[in-house]
Amino acid sequence: MNLKEISIFGNVLKSREIFAVVSKSELFRDITYWEWRRIESVMHERVYHKEEIVFSQGEEGLGLYVVVSGSIQFTSVIDGVHKEVGRTTAGHAFGELSIIDGRERTLTALALEDSKLVGFFKPDLMRLLEAEPKIAAKFCFRVAELACRRLREGMEKVLKK
């Protein structure tokens, strides 16, 4: 039995542990621990078993996931065939575009091993915007930054061609 399970501060320890991983992700980089405690109250912890699908391409998306442990594989249907397009591991977020636009998922995400994820979803972000605008703004700014970078990369690719 470890300290997390028996201590009355078990929740805080668990939250510290998750925060240590999540704060590595670029979306949550400038969120402090106390701000994290506020976001955490609207986040959902999920456990996925090996080969379980997190979301599939074409589905309406609702939000992003941050990998706490394990690894996730992304596949995409190219010319009618499923092909791997990338992988991600602990401390990284994925599906971050859906939390803003709520449109269809562009990739399929699949757990490569038993993985723990925390999900952060659009309705909860909206609520956070009302209740804690400062924290929500910090987060939204990071998402915008990421989207900008993707856009620039895409434009560069087009220009090179």
């Binding site: 109250s41 609207v42 959902h44 912890e45 999920r46 996925y48 080969e51 379980e52 699908i53 997190v54 979301f55 599939s56 391409q57 074409g58 589905e59 309406e60 998306g61 609702l62 939000g63 596949t75 249907v77 009618g80 065939v81 499923h82 092909k83 791997e84 399929t108 699949l110 999900g119 979803f121 309705p123 009302e130 209740a131 605008p133």
Partner: protein, 382 residues
């Protein structure tokens, strides 16, 4: 990717489910009103108070303090209101006032009958006049039957009183821990349905909130309008009548009509001839019931044309027949409480099933299991 079929739920199935759920609700209301009533009432109250607690939280108060503040203000407000309300009711002296109304009504009926008999010589309507005689059936009803019924009704309500105390208590915990309950509920959903369930809960939540707040706002607007009109016309007890109009407005069709009848009766006596309407138009006092009736029709029109589209939007597109049947069923099975809760509950059930049923039959709305994904592939995963 193989196209996954898209199916819709037949409206018939939807309405069958709605009617089934409503019938179950009414039966449970009849069997265990003291359990269902505080639960439903505190649930509704929670939705009405939620914007306030959220606002306070936005100001920087903690969840606990904002909820505590809102519920405390509510309880103090109710405690202050109860003596005032009892005072008004005592002032009206229900029994004697109603008898007063009835004798006036008898006079008016007498005048009408005399009129008819004068104009149509062969007609004899004396029997109708006897109904309102001093010891006739009407006065007997008001002397003996009505007090008995009213005392019985008051006792019934008084019996439920301890459970009314439960309402703020339960609303407090709903407000404080509602999100925790929601999160725990979501935590139990399998991964495959997780995101869709989250979306479902959010949509249902916001629609129910909009519907209940709209209903509440509509009641307040209509109650205020009626109250102001009655004040201008010089009907006494205009506040009590306005509150009654607001509450009865929740009951579709029947409620507004009943409120109008009560206000017309009230305008037969208990009038203030110094009011604006009398001073300006110098009309005789016995025109007043007609004015009140016209005002209620106008309020009804304002409600239908302006208030409902503005406040409720198109959140609730239910067929009038469905509402009618729900009312009949509610009134038949659970009495006045059934009538009062019919529209709020049928709205909630309708909105909930509107979101849930398509999700149950539509495979597109679900995450595909791995085996299905494997089938779509024509070559092994790299």
């Amino acid at each position: 990717m193989r196209a996954r079929p898209h199916r819709e739920v037949s409206p018939l199935v939807h309405w069958l489910f709605v009617i089934l759920t409503m019938t179950l609700f009414f039966f449970s209301l009849r069997v265990a009103a003291w359990v269902i009533l505080p639960l439903v009432a505190s649930f509704i109250l929670c939705y009405l108070l939620l914007p306030m607690t959220d606002y306070l939280e936005h100001w920087g108060l903690s969840r606990l303090w904002s909820v505590l503040l809102v519920v405390t203000v509510l309880v103090i407000g109710i405690l202050l209101l109860i003596p005032t309300l009892i005072g008004i009711i005592a002032e009206v002296q229900i029994n004697s006032t109603i008898k007063n109304y009835m004798s006036k009504l008898g006079d008016i009926v007498g005048i009408i009958i005399t009129n008819i008999e004068q104009r149509m010589p062969g007609v004899n309507l004396r029997g109708v006049d006897d109904l309102f005689a001093d010891n006739g059936p009407v006065s007997r009803f008001f002397d003996h039957d009505l007090p008995k019924v009213m005392i019985h009704g008051l006792l019934e309500v008084a019996k439920l009183f301890p459970f009314f105390l439960l309402i703020p208590y339960m609303a407090f915990y709903f407000l404080l821990d509602g999100r925790v309950f929601k999160k725990q509920l979501i935590a139990g959903i399998p991964n495959r349905y997780f995101e869709q369930t989250l979306k479902l809960i959010h949509r249902v939540d916001s629609q129910i909130a909009g519907f209940l707040r709209g209903l509440f706002l509509e009641s307040i607007i209509i109650g205020t309008l009626a109250s102001v009109g009655l004040y201008i016309m010089g009907v006494e007890n205009y506040i009590l009548l306005g509150v009654l109009t607001g509450v009865l407005n929740i009951i579709p069709y029947v409620g507004p009509a009943a409120a109008a009848v009560v206000a017309c009766l009230a305008s037969l006596t208990n009038i203030n001839t110094q009011s604006l309407l009398f001073v300006v138009t110098e009309m005789p006092a016995h025109y007043l019931p007609v004015c009140v009736l016209v005002w209620y029709v106008v309020v009804r029109a304002i409600d239908d044309v302006l208030v409902i589209p503005l406040v409720m939007g198109h959140s609730l597109s239910m067929h009038p027949l469905v509402i009618m049947f729900t009312l009949f069923a509610g009134g038949e099975i659970a009495g006045f409480l059934g009538l009062l809760f019919a529209l709020p509950v049928v709205g909630v059930v309708h909105v909930f099933l509107q979101q849930l049923l398509p999700m149950c039959v539509n495979p597109r709305a679900r995450t595909a299991p791995l085996a299905e994904v494997m089938l779509w592939e024509s070559e092994p995963r790299t």
